[in-house]
């Protein structure tokens, strides 16, 4: 059924109920709304999805402005602050005034366990300041600056603690967010391109081509992904530069990632190909390319967006897994996965539970993407009840 027809049908049937009658004006708006507007309306009604979308946008912005947001660079070492816990931030001054501040940290060696024990030195307080000058960095790669969102003068602040090489975990998490969050987008872009092209060819031309592509997809889907990715990335030279490695990992993850999208595209094309308006276009002598881009693609963009939304977190997760076990992004580059390598040692985690914070970021990101995807899936079919 074409979009126009189904709007008419659904509003007609809806008008028979008294509730719909009350909403006559809303019905009219519904009737004249474009598909994009309909999707948007339905999506905004999905509270969890809107929440997810907003938080994700904030996360991506934070990653983009990671240098500005974090007080230090990702590999600055703080001598004497090895494996320090998160610095407590106090809000009310001892004299009663409101002001965020921290105390300096003292450490002493536990003679029995030979572990450093950190305590607050309450003799002097250091106020937390905003837009402070600190280490120099290149803002968005454009110009040099040394202004950071927040910082403390005179004492270091570790919002999420430090690792065993005494680097600030908070700063490292945002640096890692750049790779982890972007690899989802880049990876999905690659699998998306492959998926749309191959799925499109498969669905549109059918026949032997379709059979061949479908068998390849069946085959790839039958292989357990992780062992394959592990083995493929094992073959990558370890000394490749970060950027090269980044793209290599992305491509490896996309080897299997495109299959799902190709399935969606093919299924939808098979369905849309039989629609009257497509047949009319064929009858009018339109070229294959024109039919695909003008008549078929618009028909399933909403479904594609839904599939993509669910593919991004899967991609992020797979990168995290590979980097976590040491086969993905290689140090000194950081991603959430490489940060989690430190958490592999159970005794280390027992003493420094803040090492698990990157895991919370990954889990949150994945769940948020799922919220959004769920909302989009419900919204993508405004005509379907």
């Amino acid at each position: 059924m074409s979009a126009q027809e189904s709007v008419a049908v659904s509003s007609e049937t809806a008008q028979q109920t008294p509730i719909a009658q009350k909403k006559r004006s809303a019905e009219e708006r519904y009737y004249y709304a474009s598909q994009r507007e309909l999707i948007w309306w339905r999506f905004t009604r999905h509270k969890a999805a809107v929440f997810g979308a907003v938080v994700l946008i904030v996360l991506y912005l934070c990653a983009l402005f990671a240098d500005f947001l974090s007080p230090y660079s990702m590999d600055t070492r703080f001598e004497g602050y090895q494996a320090a816990p998160p610095t407590p931030i106090h809000w009310i001054r001892p004299d009663g005034g409101f002001q965020p501040y921290i105390y300096g940290l003292q450490r002493k060696l536990d003679q029995k366990t030979f572990k450093w024990i950190y305590t607050e030195d309450t003799s002097k307080l250091y106020p937390l300041r905003f837009f402070v000058r600190g280490e120099e960095y290149k803002f968005l790669g454009l110009f040099k600056t040394n202004i950071h969102l927040f910082g403390v003068e005179g004492a270091p602040i570790f919002v999420f603690g430090t690792d065993r090489l005494s680097r600030d975990l908070f700063s490292r998490i945002w640096a890692g967010a750049r790779i982890s969050l972007s690899i989802g987008l880049v990876g999905v872009f690659i699998s998306f391109t492959l998926g749309v092209i191959l799925g499109g060819i498969s669905g549109y031309f059918g026949g032997v081509v379709d059979d061949a592509i479908q068998r390849v997809i069946d085959f790839l889907l039958a292989i357990p992904g992780l062992p394959l990715w592990m083995t493929l990335s094992a073959a990558l030279p370890r000394d490749w530069p970060t950027l090269k490695m980044y793209f290599a990992i992305t491509i490896i993850l996309s080897v299997l990632g495109w299959t799902g999208l190709a399935r969606v595209v093919r299924g939808k094309i098979l369905q849309l190909r039989e629609e009257d308006y497509t047949l009319a276009a064929i009858g009018a002598g339109a070229s294959d390319w024109r039919i695909i881009t003008r008549h078929l693609l618009p028909g399933f963009t909403s479904h594609l967006i839904v599939s993509i939304t669910f593919s991004i977190p899967a991609m992020i997760l797979n990168e995290t897994a590979l980097s976590f076990i040491g086969l993905g992004i290689q140090p000194p580059a950081v991603s959430w996965g490489t940060l989690l390598q430190d958490a592999q040692n159970l005794t280390a985690v027992a003493q420094q539970p803040w090492l698990l914070i990157p895991a919370l970021f990954v889990i949150a990101t994945v769940i948020l993407f799922n919220f959004v995807g769920d909302g989009l899936r419900d919204a993508a079919d405004p005509y379907q009840r």
């Binding site: 028979q16 109920t17 008294p18 509730i19």
Partner: protein, 340 residues
């Protein structure tokens, strides 16, 4: 009420109200329906889809989908007779729908055949399994082997060829007509006092329909059971029933013996129904469709429910108060202000 009182009373439905509580509002699917069913006699129920005829039957079986449906008022008295003729009277509506007493009535006292032979049987079980299950539920101490023998015998009786083989067939291996025969076998295997057919032939071809109708009539006579036959097809109802009840939007509009209602239809709705179907012996007349469509199922109408479509309506009277159901000729009930 109709003159069938020679036979003992089997079921007495009084002022039955079954409502569906939906998100959009309340649907009064059955709204104050009363009728009697006598042993060995047949009652035809006719009306358009959505008039509440199926829901009435489901209420008698207490299988109205709930939620959203619920029997909110009235009573359904069942006369359960033992071998000596002594009757125990049970109000079906007072029994818990899933309780043992109600379950012993279903399938054993009342058998039911549904419209869709395609979907009425589980595709994962053989028809023999599904039919003999009925025996095993209701008759204690019957072995599986005996149940199977009886099932085969019953399958033969409803006209399924090679019952020894087809007892092990799955529904999808049978044609629609064969499946409906299997359904009849399932409904009759425990020898119920009443068989309810809820449009059992609507989904079948005309030739098959005739066979199934003959089969049901024959079995009704052989087994001496009562029949409640629900259909929107006048001809079929006329052939199957001793008396006919015409329903519209949850209410009985007219109720009389089949002969009386065919010879002397009184209610404008019944008349309109009669006019909208061709007759074999009738003169060449134009078929007249009933004008308009059904009002919203959620609407609460102050007057006669047929008002909006009636060609003999009296504005100011018919839309002011609901007409009562009145016996205008002995044994002939009509709900219309024209006959008050």
């Amino acid at each position: 009420m109709a003159a069938s009182a020679n036979n003992p009373l089997l079921i007495e439905v009084k002022d039955l109200q079954t409502y569906f509580f939906l998100h959009e509002g309340t649907v009064r699917a059955v709204d104050g329906v009363s009728f009697n069913i006598y042993e060995g006699r047949s009652l035809g129920v006719i009306g358009e889809s959505g008039c509440g005829k199926s829901v009435t039957a489901q209420s008698m079986m207490r299988i109205v989908p709930s939620p959203p449906g619920r029997e909110v008022g009235g009573s359904i008295l069942m006369y359960l007779r033992d071998g000596n003729g002594a009757a125990e009277v049970v109000d079906v509506l007072k029994l818990p729908a899933g309780g043992p007493k109600m379950r012993s009535i279903r399938g054993q006292q009342i058998g039911m055949i549904f419209q869709e032979p395609m979907t009425s049987l589980s595709p994962l079980h053989t028809i023999g399994d599904q039919i003999s299950e009925n025996i095993l539920i209701h008759e204690k101490g019957v072995t599986k082997k005996e149940a199977r023998e009886r099932t085969i015998e019953m399958l033969g009786r409803v006209g399924i060829p090679r019952p020894q083989r087809l007892v092990d067939a799955y529904p999808h291996q049978l044609s629609g007509g064969m499946r409906q025969r299997a359904m009849i076998a399932m409904a009759l295997i425990c020898g119920p006092r009443l068989l309810i057919g809820d449009e059992p032939t609507t989904a079948l071809d005309v030739t098959i329909e005739a066979q199934i109708l003959d089969l049901i009539k024959k079995l009704q006579a052989d087994l001496g059971m009562a029949l409640m036959y629900i259909s929107h097809d006048l001809a079929v109802v006329g052939e199957m029933s001793d008396e006919i009840m015409v329903m519209y939007l949850g209410q009985v509009m007219e109720h009389s013996t089949t002969d009386e209602i065919f010879d002397n239809p009184l209610h404008p709705y019944t008349v309109a129904l009669w006019r909208s179907i061709p007759t074999i012996e009738g003169k060449l007349e134009r078929l007249v469709p009933i004008s308009g469509s059904l009002p919203s199922p959620f609407a609460v109408l102050p007057g006669c429910r047929f008002f909006s479509r009636c060609d003999r309506r009296i504005p100011g009277v018919c839309d002011a108060a609901p007409p009562p159901l009145k016996e205008v000729v002995p044994g002939h009930l009509v709900r219309c202000f024209l006959y008050q």
